[in-house]
Symmetry: C2
Subunit: 385 residues, 2 copies
């Protein structure tokens, strides 16, 4: 038997119809409310029709791990048996943001990325700050400007130098994966790494658009603000965590050993192969498997101080990168801070030009007998307003 097709969730509107929760099972797209109305999800989710009678996946995200896994299993079975009429959505769907983003946090967890960026921006100095190996460093981004794949990205204006305001001349994009919280916590609670699966619904592919000139002017001492707040793109499809079991691998060794609250008992490296495509040329193929800090450690860190989690909280891994140019996850690295342009079919680029289309793709467990394609994450750069 061939492996069961992978399940992903999104929100889509058929031509002339309203946006609704949908599931993608292999190549088939199912209307989740219609599926629930046909009674096909009853065993997995009480009141399934009400859960999916919405324009977001929010209620489903709040339903919890047992439901996520049961619904996933039911969808595989529906696909095997042939879905009843009215449940399969043919033709194009206009995809929308799949869930309401509560808070958005972005990490900085690739050793290769942090080291290379440190060397490029502070040559001669120690590339990593002393805190880097002690905790997964992160910052809060702007949740209100998280957009769905396909949304045009307007080149931002801002202070590109200490004495110059204008459109950014160093527009970049970082290849990331994001994870989204389904089940929140009360204030004061901590989420230990082993409780990761009880809170996190699934993953998206994420593009962290970055204006490098603004970033270098504004970031001292409070970190990035305008340079990152204009847009963050996520894939329209959310892949549930249970689809990633075959992708789990041992992460790189951590030296020094992390503090107790970051200690892990099971491996949560994720073998997710990504590609960064600009105008049809793949300029890099980063892989998440080698990332130093893992997602359960990131979530444990974010909550160690007692900050509550909410449904819809989105966490980005930070740029996924490698030592070689062909594995690096942003143009800052790939072009050595603009000094070594990358070749596209339609010319060379140090940074993104107006009209450029970026597509980030990801596949989990790419070498296994059941690779899982994640949603793609795309955006086209528009001129500054």
């Amino acid at each position: 038997v061939s492996p069961s097709p992978a399940v992903a969730y999104g929100v889509g509107a058929p031509p002339g119809g309203p946006a609704r929760p949908v599931a993608r099972v292999g190549a088939t797209v199912l209307d989740l409310r219609a599926l629930a109305a046909a009674g096909l999800l009853d065993s997995a989710l009480p009141r399934a029709e009400a859960v999916f009678d919405a324009a977001t996946l929010d209620r489903f995200l709040g339903a919890g791990r047992a439901v996520w896994e049961d619904v996933g299993a039911r969808l595989g079975a529906v696909d095997d048996q042939g879905a009843p009429s009215g449940v399969v959505l043919d033709g194009p769907l206009a995809m929308a943001l799949p869930f309401t983003v509560a808070d958005y946090v972005d990490f900085y967890s690739s050793l290769e990325h942090a080291t290379t960026v440190g060397r490029l921006l502070r040559p001669g100095a120690e590339p990593l700050a002393p805190n880097w190996r002690v905790m997964p460093l992160g910052y809060h981004g702007r949740s209100g400007t998280v957009v769905v794949s396909g949304t045009p990205i307007r080149r931002p204006t801002g202070p590109v130098g200490l004495h110059t305001v204008g459109p950014t001349e160093r527009l970049d994009v970082e290849v990331e994966v994001g994870f989204v919280v389904g089940v929140g916590t009360e204030p004061g609670a901590r989420v230990a790494p082993e409780a990761f699966r009880d809170h996190v619904f699934g993953v998206v592919v994420l593009a962290d658009w970055s204006a490098r000139d603004i970033q270098s002017v504004e970031s001292r001492p409070l970190g990035p603000f305008l340079s990152k707040s204009f847009a963050t793109t996520i894939s329209a499809w959310v892949t549930p965590l249970h689809e990633l079991e075959d992708a789990r691998v041992s992460p790189p060794p951590q030296e020094p050993p992390p503090p107790d609250y970051l200690a892990v008992t099971e491996p949560w490296g994720l073998d997710i192969a990504l590609s960064l495509d600009i105008n049809g040329t793949v300029v890099s193929r980063p892989d998440l498997a080698g990332m130093y800090w893992t997602m359960p450690q990131q979530l444990a860190h974010a909550t160690v101080g007692g900050a509550a989690l909410r449904r819809g909280d989105l966490f980005g891994t930070g740029t996924i990168s490698g030592w070689e140019r062909a594995r690096q996850g942003c143009l800052l690295e790939i072009t050595a801070n603009g000094t070594d342009p990358v070749e596209l079919r339609d010319g060379r680029r140090s940074w993104l030009a107006d009209g450029d289309t970026v597509v980030i793709r990801g596949t989990a467990a790419p070498g296994s007998r059941r690779p899982v394609a994640l949603g793609e994450c795309a955006g086209t750069v528009q001129p500054s307003a």
Copy 2:
């Protein structure tokens, strides 16, 4: 005639009843839905009953400047004439978070605060980074942990040193004022300083709880994260912007002149006198009037890159401070980074102790014939979990 009493808005629940939008007019608290049902807001706000049939002020925030000003004027008139029965709420109200916080941004806009902190933390170096006078520096905070005045503040745990995890030993609080967006913008739009009043509903008093040891370990290079994300307190009462007209003063001169997008044509310094009270001792009296960057400049900066605004976006001014100890807005400054403790009735403090109760109070236009008391912002420190 005596000046009309000031209006403020909140959400409160009478004993045994649900939370509802309320207005405070002088010493009188009015049930806004009941007032609307009695027809007393019809001239100001179509469908007023539906707007106030909610557990937040969100819909009212979205109604726009003309409505905010009209309702404010009607409430003054209702108070003059005596409110009908069933509209006045007597007795204690349990106050709730007044609006749904969308994104939360905190600035760093007091020259005195930034200079004093720079001198304390980096002695011998230039206290201000070169970007400080070029733009209002800010960062995104955690909107999901914004709480209403009175909510207990749990001492956070985290990396208090490079080799130590534990409860913060340097718990501090920063005196701030926050402003909240009522009318959002589309992506790509900029809010010029002169459009400030068309988007901003009003102000709250804000306590920015800060773990200084965690902050110093984690902040390089991405800024504060765990050290600020555990809690931010806002007053239960929101004072609408139109109540602050008498408080408007010329801000300090800006040298060098700001770039065009931050140029202002009308003065938006705000003479708001604040006090920081710990366990009944007022340890400092900061005033917002002297703050270098003004609120309209902060909002213009946050949107210059095209980031959309949403209803409920909250912006903190950053610590409000002065050169003298008696005007400084946080313990880091007041105690010279813990080296010169402050005297309370119940002992000395370098930093906040478990059980300490902080109350921040504010009065706009304190020297005028119509001072406007803002809501107070209070929290008691609880031991680490």
